[in-house]
Protein backbone atom coordinates (compact mmCIF):
# COMPACT_ATOMS: atom_id res chain seq x y z
CA UNK A 1 0.00 0.00 0.00
CA UNK A 2 1.22 3.51 -0.67
CA UNK A 3 1.23 5.03 2.77
CA UNK A 4 -1.01 7.92 3.61
CA UNK A 5 0.63 11.16 4.63
CA UNK A 6 1.84 11.76 8.19
CA UNK A 7 5.18 13.35 8.90
CA UNK A 8 7.23 13.76 12.07
CA UNK A 9 10.85 14.14 13.05
CA UNK A 10 11.56 10.43 12.83
CA UNK A 11 10.00 9.92 9.37
CA UNK A 12 12.32 8.79 6.62
CA UNK A 13 11.28 10.37 3.35
CA UNK A 14 12.23 8.61 0.15
CA UNK A 15 11.36 8.96 -3.49
CA UNK A 16 8.52 6.97 -4.96
CA UNK A 17 10.10 4.41 -7.27
CA UNK A 18 8.89 6.14 -10.43
CA UNK A 19 10.06 9.62 -9.44
CA UNK A 20 13.55 10.39 -10.71
CA UNK A 21 15.58 13.41 -9.70
CA UNK A 22 17.95 14.11 -12.59
CA UNK A 23 20.07 16.93 -13.87
CA UNK A 24 18.88 18.07 -17.29
CA UNK A 25 22.13 18.93 -19.06
CA UNK A 26 20.47 20.51 -22.04
CA UNK A 27 18.43 22.96 -19.98
CA UNK A 28 20.89 23.11 -17.08
CA UNK A 29 18.42 22.51 -14.30
CA UNK A 30 17.36 19.81 -11.88
CA UNK A 31 14.16 18.02 -12.77
CA UNK A 32 12.01 15.35 -11.18
CA UNK A 33 10.72 13.09 -13.89
CA UNK A 34 7.44 11.28 -13.54
CA UNK A 35 5.02 9.77 -16.00
CA UNK A 36 3.62 12.62 -18.08
CA UNK A 37 4.82 15.14 -15.53
CA UNK A 38 7.89 16.92 -14.52
CA UNK A 39 8.59 18.90 -11.41
CA UNK A 40 11.07 21.74 -11.21
CA UNK A 41 12.33 22.11 -7.65
CA UNK A 42 13.42 25.54 -6.45
CA UNK A 43 16.68 25.86 -4.46
CA UNK A 44 15.22 25.00 -1.06
CA UNK A 45 13.20 22.12 -2.42
CA UNK A 46 16.31 20.78 -4.11
CA UNK A 47 18.34 20.99 -0.88
CA UNK A 48 15.72 18.86 0.83
CA UNK A 49 15.09 16.45 -2.02
CA UNK A 50 18.77 15.68 -2.50
CA UNK A 51 18.85 14.51 1.11
CA UNK A 52 15.84 12.21 0.78
CA UNK A 53 17.88 9.06 0.31
CA UNK A 54 15.69 6.65 2.21
CA UNK A 55 18.12 6.68 5.15
CA UNK A 56 18.11 10.19 6.61
CA UNK A 57 15.28 11.08 8.98
CA UNK A 58 13.48 14.41 8.84
CA UNK A 59 15.42 15.30 11.99
CA UNK A 60 18.75 14.57 10.33
CA UNK A 61 17.81 16.53 7.21
CA UNK A 62 16.85 19.50 9.36
CA UNK A 63 20.14 19.29 11.29
CA UNK A 64 22.11 19.29 8.05
CA UNK A 65 20.19 22.28 6.66
CA UNK A 66 20.40 24.21 9.94
CA UNK A 67 24.18 23.77 9.88
CA UNK A 68 24.54 24.60 6.20
CA UNK A 69 22.40 27.75 6.30
CA UNK A 70 23.21 28.74 9.85
CA UNK A 71 19.50 29.11 10.62
CA UNK A 72 17.32 28.28 13.64
CA UNK A 73 16.35 24.64 13.75
CA UNK A 74 12.66 25.12 14.56
CA UNK A 75 12.14 27.41 11.58
CA UNK A 76 13.77 24.92 9.26
CA UNK A 77 11.82 22.07 10.82
CA UNK A 78 8.56 23.81 9.98
CA UNK A 79 9.59 24.39 6.39
CA UNK A 80 10.88 20.90 5.84
CA UNK A 81 7.78 19.26 7.27
CA UNK A 82 5.54 21.42 5.13
CA UNK A 83 7.47 20.77 1.96
CA UNK A 84 7.83 17.04 2.53
CA UNK A 85 4.11 16.85 3.20
CA UNK A 86 3.45 18.68 -0.04
CA UNK A 87 5.80 16.46 -2.04
CA UNK A 88 4.16 13.37 -0.56
CA UNK A 89 0.72 14.60 -1.56
CA UNK A 90 1.98 15.18 -5.05
CA UNK A 91 3.17 11.59 -5.11
CA UNK A 92 6.87 12.48 -5.32
CA UNK A 93 7.96 11.19 -1.91
CA UNK A 94 6.71 8.62 0.53
CA UNK A 95 7.53 8.45 4.21
Amino acid sequence: MNAGVAIDEGSVPRFQPHMKLRFDKKRERWTILAPERLFLPDEIALEILQRCDGVATIGAIVDALAAKFDAPRDVIMDDVKKLVQDFAEKGVLKT
Binding site: K20, E36, A45
Partner: protein, 382 residues
Protein backbone atom coordinates in the same frame (compact mmCIF):
# COMPACT_ATOMS: atom_id res chain seq x y z
CA UNK B 1 13.11 32.59 -36.89
CA UNK B 2 14.98 31.13 -33.92
CA UNK B 3 15.23 27.39 -33.56
CA UNK B 4 12.31 26.05 -31.51
CA UNK B 5 12.95 24.92 -27.93
CA UNK B 6 13.75 21.21 -27.80
CA UNK B 7 11.06 18.62 -27.09
CA UNK B 8 10.60 17.11 -23.62
CA UNK B 9 8.88 13.88 -24.51
CA UNK B 10 8.76 11.37 -27.31
CA UNK B 11 6.03 8.86 -27.92
CA UNK B 12 7.47 5.84 -29.70
CA UNK B 13 4.69 3.94 -31.41
CA UNK B 14 6.69 0.80 -31.96
CA UNK B 15 3.91 -1.04 -33.74
CA UNK B 16 0.25 -0.94 -34.59
CA UNK B 17 -0.14 -4.63 -33.86
CA UNK B 18 -2.41 -5.24 -30.87
CA UNK B 19 -4.61 -8.16 -29.85
CA UNK B 20 -7.24 -5.79 -28.52
CA UNK B 21 -9.73 -3.92 -30.69
CA UNK B 22 -10.80 -0.93 -28.61
CA UNK B 23 -13.39 1.13 -30.47
CA UNK B 24 -11.72 4.37 -29.31
CA UNK B 25 -8.16 3.43 -30.22
CA UNK B 26 -6.20 6.52 -31.19
CA UNK B 27 -4.28 4.70 -33.89
CA UNK B 28 -5.12 5.79 -37.42
CA UNK B 29 -7.85 3.99 -39.33
CA UNK B 30 -5.19 2.74 -41.68
CA UNK B 31 -2.93 0.63 -39.49
CA UNK B 32 0.70 -0.07 -40.31
CA UNK B 33 1.59 -3.72 -40.93
CA UNK B 34 4.52 -5.44 -39.19
CA UNK B 35 6.64 -5.38 -42.35
CA UNK B 36 6.52 -1.58 -42.40
CA UNK B 37 7.92 -1.14 -38.87
CA UNK B 38 11.27 0.47 -38.06
CA UNK B 39 13.99 -1.98 -37.08
CA UNK B 40 15.90 -2.05 -33.80
CA UNK B 41 18.97 -0.20 -35.05
CA UNK B 42 16.95 2.69 -36.40
CA UNK B 43 15.12 3.07 -33.10
CA UNK B 44 18.43 2.97 -31.23
CA UNK B 45 19.84 5.71 -33.46
CA UNK B 46 16.69 7.80 -33.00
CA UNK B 47 16.80 7.55 -29.19
CA UNK B 48 20.43 8.71 -29.27
CA UNK B 49 19.42 11.70 -31.37
CA UNK B 50 16.50 12.40 -29.07
CA UNK B 51 18.69 12.39 -25.95
CA UNK B 52 21.12 14.81 -27.60
CA UNK B 53 18.24 17.12 -28.41
CA UNK B 54 17.08 17.18 -24.79
CA UNK B 55 14.24 14.64 -24.77
CA UNK B 56 13.73 13.56 -21.14
CA UNK B 57 11.00 10.96 -21.45
CA UNK B 58 10.20 8.19 -23.86
CA UNK B 59 6.81 6.52 -23.84
CA UNK B 60 6.80 3.12 -25.49
CA UNK B 61 3.43 2.69 -27.04
CA UNK B 62 1.59 1.27 -30.00
CA UNK B 63 -0.53 -0.66 -30.75
CA UNK B 64 0.79 -3.04 -28.19
CA UNK B 65 4.52 -2.33 -27.76
CA UNK B 66 5.22 -5.67 -26.08
CA UNK B 67 4.70 -7.50 -29.39
CA UNK B 68 8.18 -6.17 -30.22
CA UNK B 69 10.81 -8.64 -29.06
CA UNK B 70 13.42 -5.87 -28.90
CA UNK B 71 11.50 -3.84 -26.33
CA UNK B 72 13.93 -4.68 -23.51
CA UNK B 73 16.87 -3.53 -25.61
CA UNK B 74 15.18 -0.27 -26.49
CA UNK B 75 14.28 0.37 -22.84
CA UNK B 76 17.83 -0.34 -21.71
CA UNK B 77 19.28 1.94 -24.39
CA UNK B 78 17.07 4.83 -23.28
CA UNK B 79 18.02 4.22 -19.66
CA UNK B 80 21.70 4.38 -20.55
CA UNK B 81 21.03 7.74 -22.21
CA UNK B 82 19.42 9.05 -19.02
CA UNK B 83 15.93 9.06 -20.53
CA UNK B 84 12.94 8.25 -18.34
CA UNK B 85 11.14 5.21 -19.71
CA UNK B 86 7.43 4.52 -19.56
CA UNK B 87 5.60 1.56 -21.04
CA UNK B 88 2.02 2.05 -22.19
CA UNK B 89 0.50 -1.37 -22.51
CA UNK B 90 -2.72 -3.34 -22.60
CA UNK B 91 -0.83 -5.98 -20.62
CA UNK B 92 -2.37 -9.03 -22.26
CA UNK B 93 0.89 -10.31 -23.74
CA UNK B 94 2.96 -9.94 -20.56
CA UNK B 95 3.96 -12.64 -18.16
CA UNK B 96 6.18 -12.78 -15.10
CA UNK B 97 9.37 -13.45 -17.08
CA UNK B 98 8.86 -10.60 -19.50
CA UNK B 99 8.02 -8.19 -16.71
CA UNK B 100 11.19 -9.19 -14.87
CA UNK B 101 13.20 -8.66 -18.06
CA UNK B 102 11.72 -5.19 -18.54
CA UNK B 103 12.35 -4.28 -14.91
CA UNK B 104 15.89 -5.59 -15.33
CA UNK B 105 16.32 -3.38 -18.39
CA UNK B 106 15.58 -0.41 -16.16
CA UNK B 107 11.97 0.35 -17.09
CA UNK B 108 10.75 3.08 -14.75
CA UNK B 109 7.02 3.05 -15.06
CA UNK B 110 4.15 1.01 -16.46
CA UNK B 111 0.84 2.40 -17.65
CA UNK B 112 -1.66 -0.42 -17.89
CA UNK B 113 -4.96 0.17 -19.62
CA UNK B 114 -8.28 -1.14 -18.39
CA UNK B 115 -11.47 -1.02 -20.40
CA UNK B 116 -13.80 -1.39 -17.42
CA UNK B 117 -13.79 -2.36 -13.75
CA UNK B 118 -15.12 -5.83 -14.43
CA UNK B 119 -14.75 -8.71 -16.82
CA UNK B 120 -17.95 -8.57 -18.85
CA UNK B 121 -17.62 -4.92 -19.76
CA UNK B 122 -13.85 -5.01 -20.08
CA UNK B 123 -13.78 -7.92 -22.49
CA UNK B 124 -16.66 -6.55 -24.53
CA UNK B 125 -15.21 -3.04 -24.92
CA UNK B 126 -11.68 -4.24 -25.62
CA UNK B 127 -13.01 -6.89 -28.00
CA UNK B 128 -10.76 -9.52 -26.42
CA UNK B 129 -11.99 -12.42 -24.38
CA UNK B 130 -10.09 -13.05 -21.16
CA UNK B 131 -8.42 -9.66 -21.40
CA UNK B 132 -9.71 -8.22 -18.15
CA UNK B 133 -8.66 -11.14 -15.96
CA UNK B 134 -5.24 -11.11 -17.58
CA UNK B 135 -4.83 -7.39 -16.88
CA UNK B 136 -5.62 -7.87 -13.21
CA UNK B 137 -2.98 -10.57 -13.02
CA UNK B 138 -0.45 -8.43 -14.88
CA UNK B 139 -1.07 -5.47 -12.57
CA UNK B 140 -0.16 -7.68 -9.61
CA UNK B 141 2.97 -8.97 -11.34
CA UNK B 142 4.06 -5.45 -12.22
CA UNK B 143 3.83 -4.38 -8.57
CA UNK B 144 5.46 -7.60 -7.43
CA UNK B 145 8.41 -6.76 -9.68
CA UNK B 146 8.69 -3.45 -7.85
CA UNK B 147 7.65 -1.38 -10.85
CA UNK B 148 5.52 1.72 -10.48
CA UNK B 149 2.05 1.43 -11.92
CA UNK B 150 -0.54 3.75 -13.38
CA UNK B 151 -3.90 2.37 -14.40
CA UNK B 152 -5.28 4.04 -17.48
CA UNK B 153 -9.05 4.08 -17.51
CA UNK B 154 -10.60 5.32 -20.69
CA UNK B 155 -14.16 6.29 -19.83
CA UNK B 156 -17.28 6.86 -21.92
CA UNK B 157 -21.04 6.35 -21.78
CA UNK B 158 -20.73 2.55 -21.73
CA UNK B 159 -18.56 2.26 -18.62
CA UNK B 160 -18.97 5.50 -16.67
CA UNK B 161 -21.44 3.87 -14.31
CA UNK B 162 -18.50 1.82 -13.01
CA UNK B 163 -16.25 4.77 -12.29
CA UNK B 164 -16.24 4.29 -8.50
CA UNK B 165 -15.33 0.63 -9.00
CA UNK B 166 -12.51 1.54 -11.39
CA UNK B 167 -11.00 3.78 -8.75
CA UNK B 168 -11.40 1.01 -6.16
CA UNK B 169 -9.67 -1.37 -8.54
CA UNK B 170 -6.70 0.99 -8.82
CA UNK B 171 -6.43 1.10 -5.02
CA UNK B 172 -6.83 -2.67 -4.69
CA UNK B 173 -4.11 -3.27 -7.29
CA UNK B 174 -1.78 -0.92 -5.40
CA UNK B 175 -1.36 1.49 -8.31
CA UNK B 176 0.46 4.74 -7.63
CA UNK B 177 -1.60 6.69 -10.05
CA UNK B 178 -4.79 6.47 -12.02
CA UNK B 179 -5.47 8.26 -15.24
CA UNK B 180 -9.14 8.71 -15.95
CA UNK B 181 -9.48 9.95 -19.46
CA UNK B 182 -12.67 10.57 -21.33
CA UNK B 183 -12.40 9.31 -24.89
CA UNK B 184 -10.92 11.79 -27.33
CA UNK B 185 -12.71 11.92 -30.63
CA UNK B 186 -10.28 11.25 -33.38
CA UNK B 187 -9.12 8.03 -35.02
CA UNK B 188 -11.43 5.18 -34.06
CA UNK B 189 -13.00 7.28 -31.33
CA UNK B 190 -14.43 9.68 -33.87
CA UNK B 191 -15.87 6.80 -35.85
CA UNK B 192 -17.56 5.54 -32.68
CA UNK B 193 -18.45 8.87 -31.17
CA UNK B 194 -22.18 8.23 -30.99
CA UNK B 195 -21.55 4.98 -29.13
CA UNK B 196 -19.18 6.62 -26.66
CA UNK B 197 -20.12 10.19 -25.93
CA UNK B 198 -21.65 10.73 -22.47
CA UNK B 199 -24.48 13.11 -21.67
CA UNK B 200 -23.62 16.32 -19.86
CA UNK B 201 -25.24 14.92 -16.71
CA UNK B 202 -23.07 11.79 -16.89
CA UNK B 203 -20.00 13.92 -17.31
CA UNK B 204 -20.84 16.12 -14.33
CA UNK B 205 -21.45 13.10 -12.17
CA UNK B 206 -18.15 11.56 -13.23
CA UNK B 207 -16.26 14.74 -12.45
CA UNK B 208 -17.82 14.88 -8.99
CA UNK B 209 -16.83 11.25 -8.35
CA UNK B 210 -13.24 11.93 -9.37
CA UNK B 211 -12.95 15.10 -7.31
CA UNK B 212 -14.30 13.37 -4.19
CA UNK B 213 -11.98 10.38 -4.65
CA UNK B 214 -8.99 12.64 -5.25
CA UNK B 215 -9.59 14.30 -1.90
CA UNK B 216 -10.28 11.04 -0.08
CA UNK B 217 -7.23 9.26 -1.48
CA UNK B 218 -4.63 12.00 -1.04
CA UNK B 219 -1.26 10.42 -0.46
CA UNK B 220 -2.56 7.02 -1.61
CA UNK B 221 -3.39 7.51 -5.27
CA UNK B 222 -2.51 10.33 -7.64
CA UNK B 223 -5.26 11.26 -10.11
CA UNK B 224 -5.04 12.53 -13.61
CA UNK B 225 -8.36 13.46 -15.10
CA UNK B 226 -8.96 14.32 -18.73
CA UNK B 227 -12.39 15.76 -19.57
CA UNK B 228 -14.06 15.48 -22.96
CA UNK B 229 -13.68 18.57 -25.08
CA UNK B 230 -17.20 18.66 -26.39
CA UNK B 231 -18.58 19.92 -23.10
CA UNK B 232 -15.67 22.17 -22.27
CA UNK B 233 -15.66 25.96 -22.28
CA UNK B 234 -12.04 26.30 -23.29
CA UNK B 235 -9.97 23.76 -25.16
CA UNK B 236 -7.10 21.80 -23.69
CA UNK B 237 -3.61 22.80 -24.54
CA UNK B 238 -3.20 19.91 -26.92
CA UNK B 239 0.26 18.36 -26.56
CA UNK B 240 1.37 21.50 -24.73
CA UNK B 241 1.18 23.33 -28.06
CA UNK B 242 1.96 22.04 -31.53
CA UNK B 243 5.67 21.34 -31.93
CA UNK B 244 6.56 22.77 -28.53
CA UNK B 245 7.20 19.82 -26.22
CA UNK B 246 6.26 16.60 -27.86
CA UNK B 247 6.89 14.42 -30.84
CA UNK B 248 5.36 11.18 -31.92
CA UNK B 249 7.14 8.61 -34.06
CA UNK B 250 4.96 6.21 -35.97
CA UNK B 251 5.80 2.53 -36.51
CA UNK B 252 6.89 3.45 -40.04
CA UNK B 253 9.27 6.18 -38.83
CA UNK B 254 7.12 9.16 -39.72
CA UNK B 255 7.44 11.95 -37.17
CA UNK B 256 4.21 13.65 -36.07
CA UNK B 257 3.49 16.60 -33.80
CA UNK B 258 0.65 14.58 -32.25
CA UNK B 259 -0.55 11.05 -32.80
CA UNK B 260 -3.60 12.14 -34.78
CA UNK B 261 -1.81 14.62 -37.01
CA UNK B 262 -2.05 12.36 -40.04
CA UNK B 263 -5.80 12.93 -40.12
CA UNK B 264 -5.07 16.47 -41.34
CA UNK B 265 -4.75 16.46 -45.11
CA UNK B 266 -1.98 18.38 -46.79
CA UNK B 267 0.61 18.16 -44.01
CA UNK B 268 3.98 16.77 -45.10
CA UNK B 269 5.64 14.46 -42.57
CA UNK B 270 9.28 13.51 -42.57
CA UNK B 271 10.63 10.12 -41.60
CA UNK B 272 13.54 9.24 -39.33
CA UNK B 273 14.57 6.90 -42.14
CA UNK B 274 15.49 9.95 -44.22
CA UNK B 275 16.51 12.77 -41.88
CA UNK B 276 17.96 13.25 -38.40
CA UNK B 277 15.42 13.91 -35.69
CA UNK B 278 16.59 17.42 -34.74
CA UNK B 279 16.31 18.56 -38.32
CA UNK B 280 12.78 17.18 -38.54
CA UNK B 281 11.83 18.88 -35.27
CA UNK B 282 13.17 22.22 -36.44
CA UNK B 283 12.18 22.34 -40.07
CA UNK B 284 9.61 19.70 -41.00
CA UNK B 285 6.56 21.15 -42.69
CA UNK B 286 4.19 19.33 -40.34
CA UNK B 287 5.85 20.88 -37.28
CA UNK B 288 6.23 24.36 -38.70
CA UNK B 289 2.67 24.66 -39.94
CA UNK B 290 0.96 25.22 -36.58
CA UNK B 291 3.90 26.01 -34.35
CA UNK B 292 3.60 29.15 -32.24
CA UNK B 293 0.86 31.69 -32.82
CA UNK B 294 1.56 32.98 -36.33
CA UNK B 295 -0.97 30.67 -38.01
CA UNK B 296 -3.83 31.68 -35.73
CA UNK B 297 -7.09 33.18 -36.97
CA UNK B 298 -9.40 35.24 -34.78
CA UNK B 299 -10.60 34.85 -32.08
CA UNK B 300 -7.32 33.18 -31.03
CA UNK B 301 -5.02 35.77 -32.57
CA UNK B 302 -6.03 38.48 -30.13
CA UNK B 303 -6.96 36.22 -27.21
CA UNK B 304 -4.96 36.36 -23.99
CA UNK B 305 -5.01 32.57 -23.74
CA UNK B 306 -3.26 32.05 -27.06
CA UNK B 307 -0.02 31.01 -25.38
CA UNK B 308 -1.84 28.96 -22.74
CA UNK B 309 -3.93 26.62 -24.84
CA UNK B 310 -2.34 27.43 -28.21
CA UNK B 311 -5.76 27.51 -29.86
CA UNK B 312 -6.59 23.94 -28.84
CA UNK B 313 -6.38 20.82 -30.97
CA UNK B 314 -5.68 21.09 -34.71
CA UNK B 315 -6.94 17.59 -35.41
CA UNK B 316 -10.21 18.30 -33.68
CA UNK B 317 -10.60 21.60 -35.54
CA UNK B 318 -10.19 19.68 -38.77
CA UNK B 319 -12.45 16.79 -37.76
CA UNK B 320 -15.27 19.12 -36.80
CA UNK B 321 -14.96 22.00 -39.24
CA UNK B 322 -12.96 20.63 -42.16
CA UNK B 323 -10.30 23.29 -41.56
CA UNK B 324 -7.32 22.51 -39.33
CA UNK B 325 -6.41 26.21 -39.08
CA UNK B 326 -9.60 27.24 -37.31
CA UNK B 327 -10.04 27.82 -33.59
CA UNK B 328 -10.75 24.51 -31.84
CA UNK B 329 -14.56 24.29 -31.68
CA UNK B 330 -14.22 23.10 -28.08
CA UNK B 331 -13.66 26.78 -27.29
CA UNK B 332 -16.78 28.74 -26.40
CA UNK B 333 -15.39 31.71 -28.28
CA UNK B 334 -15.38 29.76 -31.54
CA UNK B 335 -18.33 30.34 -33.84
CA UNK B 336 -18.46 26.55 -34.35
CA UNK B 337 -18.89 25.81 -30.65
CA UNK B 338 -22.70 25.81 -30.64
CA UNK B 339 -22.69 23.19 -33.35
CA UNK B 340 -20.57 20.69 -31.39
CA UNK B 341 -22.58 21.16 -28.21
CA UNK B 342 -25.72 20.32 -30.16
CA UNK B 343 -24.01 17.37 -31.73
CA UNK B 344 -22.90 16.05 -28.34
CA UNK B 345 -26.39 16.46 -26.95
CA UNK B 346 -28.15 14.78 -29.84
CA UNK B 347 -25.78 11.83 -30.02
CA UNK B 348 -25.63 11.22 -26.29
CA UNK B 349 -29.43 11.30 -25.93
CA UNK B 350 -29.94 8.56 -28.49
CA UNK B 351 -29.38 4.87 -27.82
CA UNK B 352 -25.74 4.05 -28.59
CA UNK B 353 -25.12 2.35 -31.96
CA UNK B 354 -23.00 -0.83 -32.00
CA UNK B 355 -19.21 -0.41 -31.81
CA UNK B 356 -17.06 -0.42 -34.91
CA UNK B 357 -14.10 -2.33 -33.50
CA UNK B 358 -10.62 -1.38 -34.50
CA UNK B 359 -9.37 -3.63 -37.30
CA UNK B 360 -6.71 -3.75 -39.97
CA UNK B 361 -7.48 -2.36 -43.38
CA UNK B 362 -10.30 0.00 -42.49
CA UNK B 363 -9.28 1.78 -45.65
CA UNK B 364 -11.43 4.84 -45.23
CA UNK B 365 -10.15 7.90 -46.98
CA UNK B 366 -10.30 9.30 -44.84
CA UNK B 367 4.40 26.19 -11.13
CA UNK B 368 4.09 26.17 -7.64
CA UNK B 369 6.63 28.04 -5.36
CA UNK B 370 8.62 25.11 -4.03
CA UNK B 371 8.09 22.58 -6.73
CA UNK B 372 6.50 23.70 -9.90
CA UNK B 373 4.74 20.99 -11.76
CA UNK B 374 4.36 20.80 -15.48
CA UNK B 375 2.30 18.45 -17.50
CA UNK B 376 4.39 16.73 -20.11
CA UNK B 377 2.34 15.43 -22.96
CA UNK B 378 2.32 11.69 -23.01
CA UNK B 379 -0.22 9.44 -24.46
CA UNK B 380 -3.50 9.89 -22.69
CA UNK B 381 -4.97 6.78 -24.20
CA UNK B 382 -4.51 3.07 -24.77
Amino acid sequence: MNAPAPPLALLAELTHRCPLRCPYCSNPLELERASGELDTDTWLRVFGEAADMGVLQVHFSGGEPTVRKDLERLVAACGALGIYTNLITSGVLLDEGRIAALAGAGLEHVQLSFQDSEEAGGDRIGGYKGGHAKKVEVARLVRKAGLALTLNMVVHRQNLHHLEDMIELAVALDAHRVEIAHVQYYGWGLKNRAALIPTRAQLEEATAVVEAARERLKGVLVFDYVVPDYYARRPKSCMGGWGRQFLNIMPSGKVLPCHAAETIPGLRFDSVRDRPLDEIWETSDAFQRFRGTGWMPEPCRSCDRREIDWGGCRCQAFALTGDAARTDPACELSSDHRHIVELAQTESDRAPPPFVYRHLGAGEPRAEPALSEEAVPGAGRS
